[in-house]
Symmetry: C2
Subunit: 193 residues, 2 copies
DNA sequence: GTCTATAATTCGATAGAC
DNA sequence: GTCTATCGAATTATAGAC
């Protein structure tokens, strides 16, 4: 009907939407889902709180948009099989320190059912499919991915959420040398030693 | 002054206090600190909300009382050194499944600074002192304890909070056989393989 | 597109009767 | 010791002016 001639022209509101998402990620990461208020997010983004509602419908809708996340796992089939563990730890550390979205999701997942569901999706779909190796059953693959998730999320929880001093102070490469072999065993080893 | 002759006589209010604490642990474990309301806790305990305030002063005070926790770590000096890992995993699993206080603390620690501080205290004081072995420096001991905490808390987070299916469905002894060796290496091994 | 004003809840906390 | 009543503050969400 009244479609504009240039559908790809950036709308003026895009900048506002982006500012809202950036502020939302910060607040959700710092305070969790319940304590992060739309008012505070709007104040950070220098806009009116009602704009948040207009653009994202509800607080849940805002969180869903702000917590969109891709682990960006590398193609593990081209990684030497004996270096899978250290590759994953290094990748996750970089991914975690460079994007606060994952911290926001982690904090919110503790109390918000929707965030927990999204967390399950990410670590079930993205991680499980990335570590799937031909020749092993689904149950075994899922279990290996679950164990990897437990150590990765435990690392993030102690380092970024609870901030246990020894886990905060340690150098990233030191973490790689300790946790890399753990993931390696979860991915390619057997239970027992 | 007017001290009663039998100071050890149980007061009638003790039963009420205990009921409040039990309900509080359930709610904090299920909903986290912010979503658990004093009104809901009082309803579960079949008492008036104002009683909670009277007995515990504030919501923070109630949480502090409800989240009192002891890991009850066994004496690790009598455990054969090569079985430290599996012993710890088995102990933590039993401790976690048998007492929802730890789940309440874990959920609350994600968003409540006081709960996070308590979590740090538990895993710094109780765990670090339990794994302290003579002859190694403080920094190394603290790092080993931190790594153990990261895997234990990651196990709890994925199994009891996020409820990742492969971590929920797996048998406890299967977890012991996978995670036990991890803790063993964190406690007595070296970085690298 | 942006903002003011406010509706409708809900919460923690307090005062005080019995 | 227990309960009723309520305060004051904060929240999400909506209606509508400009």
């Amino acid at each position: 009907m009244a479609a504009p001639a240039r559908p790809t022209q950036p709308r003026r509101s895009d900048a506002t939407r982006a500012a809202i998402l950036r502020a939302a990620r910060e607040r959700f990461a710092a305070d969790g889902y319940e304590r992060a208020t739309i008012r505070a997010i709007a104040a950070d983004a220098r806009i009116d709180p009602s704009m948040v509602m207009r653009y994202y419908g509800s607080k849940e809708g805002l969180f869903a948009a702000a917590a969109e996340f891709d682990l960006r796992l590398p193609d593990l089939t081209v990684v030497p099989s004996e270096r899978l563990g250290e590759t994953l730890v290094r990748h996750f550390l970089a991914r975690w320190e460079g994007d606060e979205t994952l911290v926001a999701l982690l904090r919110a997942a503790s109390t918000n059912p929707g965030a927990a569901e999204r967390m399950r999706g990410i670590f079930t779909d993205q991680l499980a499919s990335a570590v799937a190796t031909s020749g092993t059953g689904e149950t075994v693959t899922a279990r290996r991915a679950g164990l990897v998730a437990s150590q990765i999320l435990g690392l993030a929880f102690t380092r970024y959420i609870v901030r246990l001093p020894p886990m905060v102070d340690v150098e990233p490469e030191e973490l790689v040398s300790w946790i890399g072999p753990t993931l390696q065993r979860y991915l390619t080893g057997r239970p027992g030693n």
